[in-house]
């Protein structure tokens, strides 16, 4: 039942889907690099880069249906945009804007959970509701390697298995929790083997191979959708850069390590080579694709950065459905001191 050797792609996908995946992966990477630069130039706040993890996220995103739910961490930009979250929304989040947490109606993406692993019980609960309502929506709860140490991970895994809910617990094992390497995080060789402790299927997949990730997630999603219950998926991947723009990864690991991943296991190079071998891709097409990505990303950046200043009434607007007296008075005082914001 448990697959703890690295799962690699068994089949190949239709060319047009591979092309679509590839374009998404470069878009995600470009989005990410621009975000890092925006932070450097002081135009957005602290940002959590994902460069290196594009295949894990795009592969996951492609395996899901529109009605499915995501319960993301702060690093799920890639899968979130594939699942329908506007890029500009994500940029706004990293600019500390409330709109940055709001997915469009019909896009089932829960706001980013900052406290580690706390979103996993939510994912299990949402999947439970989906099951109770007889809907065919599947839920994906995201986490990293470090998050497996938190009690909430344990409780969520156990609830998922006991109630056999349609959830996939998707762990992107990028080798580090900020500065802490996996070997200091757990005494196991893999994360996937932890699933057995819950009587849950666990799969370890090459997170740099978008097709492998897609296959594993698709299988898990189909299983969940047809009443087969939860799956734990460990995607073995790597973040090339720092934990966030506030972090300096050279303090805790030698750059050779990340260079090696970049040179030998880059998910984009890898797919690009496949596409070229298939004879459906070349450098010219590639340049065009990056240019297109740049336009899309630029548009999102312009939108995010040109948005009106945040209306400070938002502090109160959604604190409660109906503001209790003390919040009403505090809002009044705020308006008196700092202006009405957008309030009528």
């Amino acid at each position: 039942m448990n697959q703890t050797e690295l799962y690699t792609a068994q089949t190949t996908l239709p060319t047009d889907q591979l092309l679509e995946m590839y374009k998404w992966m470069i878009t995600v990477r470009h989005f990410d690099r621009r975000a890092v630069n925006l932070q450097r130039s002081g135009r957005i706040g602290t940002y959590a880069p994902l460069e290196g993890q594009e295949a894990a996220q795009v592969g996951c995103g492609f395996a899901l249906e529109k009605q499915d739910w995501l319960f993301p961490t702060y690093r799920e930009h890639g899968v979130s945009m594939v699942h329908g979250l506007p890029m500009s929304t994500i940029y706004m989040y990293w600019n500390g804007r409330p709109e940055g947490c709001v997915a469009p109606e019909g896009v089932n993406i829960f706001p980013i959970a900052v406290p580690i692993a706390t979103q996993l019980p939510h994912a299990v609960g949402a999947a439970w509701a989906s099951k109770l309502k007889g809907e065919d929506a599947v839920v994906v709860g995201f986490l990293g390697d470090g998050a497996t140490s938190e009690g909430d991970f344990h409780e969520a895994m156990n609830f998922a298995a006991v109630f056999k809910v349609p959830v996939i617990i998707f762990c992107q094992n990028n080798g580090y929790a900020i500065s802490v390497p996996m070997r200091k995080q757990t005494a196991t060789e893999t994360m996937a083997e932890k699933a057995a402790a819950y009587g849950m299927e666990g799969v370890r997949v090459d997170g740099q191979d978008v097709v492998a990730v897609y296959e594993v997630m698709k299988k898990a999603a189909d299983k969940a959708r047809t009443g087969g219950g939860p799956t734990f998926v460990e995607a073995v991947t790597y973040r090339y850069g720092s934990h966030t723009t506030a972090d300096d990864h050279t303090r805790y690991r030698d750059s050779e390590e990340s260079e090696q991943w970049r040179n030998e296991k880059d998910p984009i190079d890898r797919l690009k080579k496949q596409l070229i071998d298939l004879g459906v891709w070349d450098e010219e097409k590639d340049k065009a694709a990056w240019d297109e990505a740049d336009q899309v990303v630029q548009k999102a950046i312009d939108e995010a950065l040109s948005a009106d200043p945040v209306d400070h009434n938002r502090i109160f607007d959604h604190a409660f459905a109906e503001l209790p007296w003390h919040l009403q008075e505090q809002r009044e005082e705020m308006r008196k001191l700092y202006g009405n914001g957008g309030a009528k």
Binding site: F110, P111, P121, W128, E155, A156, F159
Partner: protein, 325 residues
């Protein structure tokens, strides 16, 4: 009308909710076939099935965390925490998520739920079965906190909490679960959240209490009567948001006040109510607001619990101090 005690009134309220709203789902430890350790869910699993009255694994963060996902995806969960003193492992879920989902998602998602928990000491239970950490939840924005002191309010507040679009912490006074019975209507009715109840009018001093301490306070008020002091006793019923109007009006009338709770005195509800009176009625005060709470020592084992929690004698002593100021 049936005469029910508090635990029966809660069971009745849960039954009404399960009947009326198919989104309602009860989950917790031992609430199924066992009917809960206090029998609050007695018979409900048999009546509504294992899908709607669910025994969970032993994990409070899991119970509350799963409830968040259930609520966000359209259910109306009523998680039971077996004792309020066992809610601590779920505090991260409550403080980081239950209370913030609406705000974080700017209203895109909401998280209505009623978290039930019996609180307070007095039943000779082992350690930590008698904690009263309500101040934590009153301090945390995004939550409401209610606490009935009688069967009628228990059912009415429970059904009001379930109608509330925001999450509510529902504290149950376990010591008086079976202490007495009231007329409780069979049908659906609500007791409004945010409204205190003047249970005994008086002109000399206003006493604010809730839950278990209400009846003890009435005892103290009767003893005070003998000393010629006419105590107005106010049942707060909702701890967050507080019913400012009723509290302030009472103090403006009497000019004196005292707050009673089982929780440790320092930084408890008594402090907030004293500060509220200070804000709104300082000039009416003829004496400092008195605070009678549990001692600021960790709650002891049960051989000492009666002396730890306020009793009528200690409350009377508090009243004396305020009256003789």
């Amino acid at each position: 009308m049936a005469k029910l005690n508090i635990i029966q009134a809660i069971t009745d309220g849960l039954r009404v909710a399960l009947k009326e709203d198919e989104r309602v789902l009860l989950l917790g430890e031992d609430i199924g076939v066992n009917g809960g350790v206090f029998r609050a869910t007695e018979g409900l699993q048999a009546e509504f099935g294992e899908q709607r009255v669910v025994d969970t694994p032993l994990a409070e963060a899991g119970i509350v965390g799963a409830s968040v996902g259930l609520a966000v995806n359209g259910m109306l969960p009523i998680p039971e925490i077996q004792f309020f003193g066992f809610i601590y492992p779920a505090i991260e879920q409550i403080v980081c998520h239950v209370s913030r989902v609406r705000m974080r998602s700017q209203g895109r998602f909401t998280c209505p739920m009623v978290i039930r928990a019996p609180y307070g000491g007095g039943i000779r239970a082992p350690e930590l079965h008698g904690d009263s950490p309500e101040a934590f939840f009153v301090h945390q924005p995004g939550l409401k906190v209610v606490c009935p002191s009688n069967p009628y309010d228990a059912k009415g507040l429970l059904l009001a909490a379930l109608q509330d679009p925001d999450p509510v912490i529902f504290m149950e006074p376990m010591r008086i679960y079976r202490a007495f019975r009231d007329e409780v209507p069979e049908e659906h009715y609500t007791v409004p959240i945010g409204k205190a109840n003047v249970v005994k009018e008086g002109k000399d001093i206003s006493l604010f209490a809730y839950g278990t301490m209400l009846r003890v306070s009435l005892e103290a008020a009767a003893m005070a009567k003998e000393q010629g002091w006419d105590v107005e006793v106010v049942d707060l019923r909702t701890l967050s948001p507080l019913d400012r109007e009723t509290i302030v009006a009472s103090v403006q009338k009497t000019g004196r006040a005292i707050v009673v709770h089982e929780a440790p005195k320092t930084a408890g509800l008594g402090a907030e109510i004293t500060a509220l009176i200070n804000d709104e009625a300082l000039l009416y005060l003829e004496a400092p607001v008195g605070r009678v709470g549990g001692y600021d020592a960790p709650q002891p084992l049960f051989s000492l619990e009666d002396i730890y929690a306020p009793d009528a004698k200690r409350i009377l002593h508090g009243i004396e101090k305020v009256m003789n100021f």
